[in-house]
Subunit: 99 residues, 2 copies
Amino acid sequence: MSGIIQHINKAFDNRVRLGIMSVLMVNEKVDFKRLKQLLGVTDGNLASHIKALEKLNYIEVYKTFVDRKPNTSYSATRFGKEAFKKHIDALEKLIHQQK
Amino acid sequence: MSGIIQHINKAFDNRVRLGIMSVLMVNEKVDFKRLKQLLGVTDGNLASHIKALEKLNYIEVYKTFVDRKPNTSYSATRFGKEAFKKHIDALEKLIHQQK
DNA sequence: TTTATTAACTTTGCGTTGCAAAGTTCTTTG
DNA sequence: CAAAGAACTTTGCAACGCAAAGTTAATAAA
């Protein structure tokens, strides 16, 4: 495939994954609950999208306990951040293309 | 559903449809062949995405003959352009969100 | 020590989407 | 009449998306 859409990353074509990465671009670490409330999705849905990003090595997981409760937080890897930046660049080029 | 991704338009989560709209935002009219070569997709695939955008009244179709050959061209409707702008706005807010 | 609660998943089920490839229709050109 | 081109439509199938229900582990409450 060639053309002006070839650098758009399919991993980010989904709103939830786009949202997760956007949040993790400006916040070093964000936990599950916070992500869930920021995005307004069900926990199962969020978990599956997180897993997809994890599988691609775009995000990392940290499991700890806070107040004696399990707490899982996430951060974007350098690789993930670069992939996201490239995606945004491609998006901007696509949107602001010239005739 | 609430949250920071709620204004992302699902119609534009797909690369091909995003590409079509992007092209039609800066070009008043573009024909099938040109779109196909710009996007680098198969004709069947392009046709199906065009149909989806048409169904939403985001684009209009003009069928004519050029050099005695059938020529179909497309343009974005005002409604489609507005929907697209809103989507881009939502994208920018999402991406450039603050902590 | 059973019971409840919370966090974070995982699984299930099912409808939707995406795409290539093949088939179709119409029209022109050789 | 055969071939070619434009623009679809259909087919088939794999991948995706999501809600809802089920699971596991730890802690808290009774």
